[in-house]
Point group: C2
Amino acid sequence: MFLKSKEIHLKCTHCSQITAYQKASIVCPLCGGTILQAEYDLEELVHCHWKDKLSTRYPSLWRYHELLPLFDSNHIVTLGEGWTPLIQAQRFGKLIGLDYLYIKDERQNPTGSFKDRQASVTISVMKEQGIKEMVLASTGNVAISYSAYAARAGIKLWAFLSGLTPDEKIREIQLYGAEVVKVPGTYDQTKQVAAEFAQNQGIFLDSGLKSFTSGESMKTMALELGEQLHGQAPDWFIQGVSGAMGPIGVVKGFEEMMALGMVDKVPRLGMIQSSGCNPMVQAFEKGEREAIPVTDPKTAIATLATGNPGFAYSWLYDLMQKYGGAMEQATDAEAYTVTRLLAQTEGISVEPATAVAFAGLIKLAQRGIIQPQERVVINCSGHTYPVEEQILTEEFAPEASTQFKW
Amino acid sequence: MFLKSKEIHLKCTHCSQITAYQKASIVCPLCGGTILQAEYDLEELVHCHWKDKLSTRYPSLWRYHELLPLFDSNHIVTLGEGWTPLIQAQRFGKLIGLDYLYIKDERQNPTGSFKDRQASVTISVMKEQGIKEMVLASTGNVAISYSAYAARAGIKLWAFLSGLTPDEKIREIQLYGAEVVKVPGTYDQTKQVAAEFAQNQGIFLDSGLKSFTSGESMKTMALELGEQLHGQAPDWFIQGVSGAMGPIGVVKGFEEMMALGMVDKVPRLGMIQSSGCNPMVQAFEKGEREAIPVTDPKTAIATLATGNPGFAYSWLYDLMQKYGGAMEQATDAEAYTVTRLLAQTEGISVEPATAVAFAGLIKLAQRGIIQPQERVVINCSGHTYPVEEQILTEEFAPEASTQFKW
């Protein structure tokens, strides 16, 4: 109810046209551009008292509803996502030479990854817009998350999954009742197939960074960090990157908090890619603003196997020029080693894509790019969870060849 | 720092002797009894202002430190556990005829189950007591949770696992660096083997309900419910039961809140067991205070396969006589069916032991024992997560026969 009075505008990243956001306005009315960014009346918000009440609000990302693109709280589709713990990693930090390392534990979201932020905000906006059916392409985590929230909202979901998606993740997606289409190809090819299907069928396509709700959702990580660190932004924000939606959203969050007087700066970005799929790293090393796609990713880590980052890299590159930052890469083997090290020093078990970020962080510290005294926050993006394989196999995928074990 | 001034006493459940709790006092000095319950100076606390500040405190179970058995906050071993979301289940509730069904989403804990409460409180107390090594018996979830927190605290953990423990859970436990001992028998047999090992080696044994920290940790669920429901206790608290530690702790939490004027009542208990291992249900139906052990559990759901509940059942029985409640049971097949129903209506994916509780809830509603208008909270105790099987298999269990898939 409480959201109805706010004003939101959408700015086209192509022609800079600014339009009042209304239901169903998801393309630029001037040029047809599809990459829009939400803008809020920050001057109005800076004088409001909502900031003083923040600390007593319910700990989910929706506590920042003034800065989220929803008009009516009745449309919120939530599983309690966000406001994840910020955990100081003293033992692991000491091992790698960092005195103030903090882990933003995104594993503690409803489906175990930071994609739940995106699903909650996007599905809520879709509910507000009256959309009943949608298509997306995924390497696994996004589809798991969206299928959970779509089930909750009663929205039909078509999940197109790339060839690397593990069977366990596919079973989880099916459990939520989504329609699964396996594409025997790369993530980039899967996105293409999904887009064609959506267009042919006239179904709404959620296209990652191009859907303005994605960046809006990811920025809530920054809003939480500002509150958890009492207005002192970290010196560095570290994340494994594939499509770059996370860091782009996080920077927007810090920028908005700067405008609202809630933090003191925007952190530098430490962006880590898999060595087997590193188009951004290659371009960044050469100082280039455009990345050459990797057409044949050589990594087993599906979540990081985006060969063609497209405009997202250029966007990220510009932000890193403005606020500072560094790119690094890590091999799958390095990631697996770090998985064990992190579990045994901090009690934190992560999925391989997350381990790549930790492995890259070690290198940035070793290279002296990150200094021992700097405050570092790393996005601990997803969990290595035990699955009740027997159950899911027997009941939900009876055709699977896995042997039932008891 | 802030915890040092408080007074805690331990009451022996055998001889009722009350002793001031100090470091290392973990048995009754009068009779040697090992089942102790913590007591706090509630009369002092009722006049304090800490309750007014609760809503601004960090959302973890440690926000209730006045009611937890730790003296020095420097000993807290935390991964941000607790203060899990309370999610209203409107669609699933409507299907089963309940208007006010709330899911306490314990999946959103650091290792994905409510056992993280127990691990955080117990390992913190062990750290305070200077204990460096410990033994426990488990069917999986407790060992996963303890191994994570023990790793974080630098405590060596011996995990004795029953024969039903899934391989995925064992790998997760090994990832954290715990010593794993697989016992090819029931959970009751595993507990016996673990106890003998601990005694022979002179290592501290964590023995579930007998360790007073366990009940203390579980009661934090009640404290959170009191706060999340604004002082109105639910009419029912539902949980799948095996060792009964959860509900016994929860009742203690509501009792303390009653004494502190923070809630209006103690809820009735809806306790669900697996049909294949239902010693409590059998005894309760006959109105008996002692349960006859099930020596050969016939369920594939390890988490609920405690054949001999021992004194825990009598304790629970007394509480259910005092506050009201009902017992129910569900088969494995019923649990699997409910897993799908819950995922597709609410976007919540649960492990089989949790699904048993939901299946039993349906029966309690159908039988009219729970009325449509009553407020019901169910402990959504653990997650059905996808595991990155490939990684864990290849790196951490190279001897496993599972085929590497890409």
